[in-house]
Amino acid sequence: MIRGLVLLFLAAFLTGPVHGQSRMAEAEWANQQLPDPADEAEAKALMESLRCLVCQGQSIADSDADMASDMRALVRRRIAAGEEPEDIRAWLVERYGRWITYDPPMDAVTWPLWLLPLLFVGFGVWLARGRFRSRKRES
């Protein structure tokens, strides 16, 4: 019984999911800061608002995935070459859809997200006003 448990315990630790991980060295600029602090600040802000394609739910600044490090390298390379952060974001959105950005632009699809809360607050105020009024009348 105990031997069985020990075997089970070992099996649980020795076998794990097989993860594909590249044996290549990481790309230049994947984990190095740019020499110009202003460039690096721009790159960092952009990296924190781009979603990792592998560890979905993490930003590429936070993820350890190979692909995220290649994306950081791409961001830093392009910023160092003088490209605007928003152009790099647009380049990625063009390929992966708006899903890749944590900072979605306001457009035909996303405007209800901004407008609906205002409408709800307005409706709430209207509702509350109705109640206060009827109370006054009763008293």
Partner: protein, 192 residues
């Protein structure tokens, strides 16, 4: 005067009914969120990110050869007048082993297949192809995932169907299983 009690009963019934409305709304929301969380195909864990470039010309890229003696791959090589497949693979990718027999089957059916080896060393690519079969005409070395990002691909393996003009017709995400072979052949035929 006589109909007043009736009206009160009516408003009372109405009020009772209205009391249930918030609960119903909450139940609808709860149901919606649990559905999206557990069964929705947009739940974060299950989401495959499709390339937005399907239907558009192949973006510009140019990759060095991955193996000596085998040409590398650039976007210009893909507009050959005949439809072909571009397969993203890597020697470190386990599902790529699973799809290798299907790629060989496509090759034997006369399909031209080019490859992009993602973050891979030549010796590993060589060993992988020796062991699992080599269906490729050209193999580009995408050492920093640049071509992968340019194509809007988010992992390995992935396979793009490209028509004779170099336009991306279809993207297959994940390994090609035996049941996918007819679909891909049909897509290639449709791109002719």
């Amino acid at each position: 005067m006589s109909d007043k009690p009736d009206m009160d009963a009516q408003t009372l019934a109405m009020k009772r009914f209205v009391l249930w409305v918030p609960l119903v709304i909450a139940a609808v929301f709860f149901g919606f969120f649990s559905y999206a969380l557990f069964f929705g195909n947009t739940s974060p864990q299950q989401r495959a990110i499709e390339s937005q470039l399907v239907g558009q010309p192949m973006p510009e890229f140019s990759l060095q050869p991955s193996l000596p003696g085998r040409p590398g791959l650039s976007s210009a090589d893909l507009a050959t007048g005949e439809p072909r497949l571009v397969n993203f693979f890597a020697s470190w990718c386990v599902p790529c082993i699973a799809e290798a027999p299907q790629l060989m089957q496509l090759r034997e059916a006369g399909v031209a297949i080019d490859a992009i080896a993602v973050r891979d060393r030549p010796e590993d690519v060589f060993a992988f192809l020796q062991r699992w079969g080599d269906p490729y005409e050209r193999i580009g070395a995408d050492t920093q995932s640049e071509a992968q990002l340019a194509l809007g691909s988010s992992g390995v393996p992935e396979t793009f169907v490209v028509d004779g003009d170099g336009v991306i017709v279809r993207q297959h995400i994940g390994d090609i299983r035996p049941e996918h072979v007819p679909e891909l052949l049909a897509a290639l035929e449709g791109a002719r």
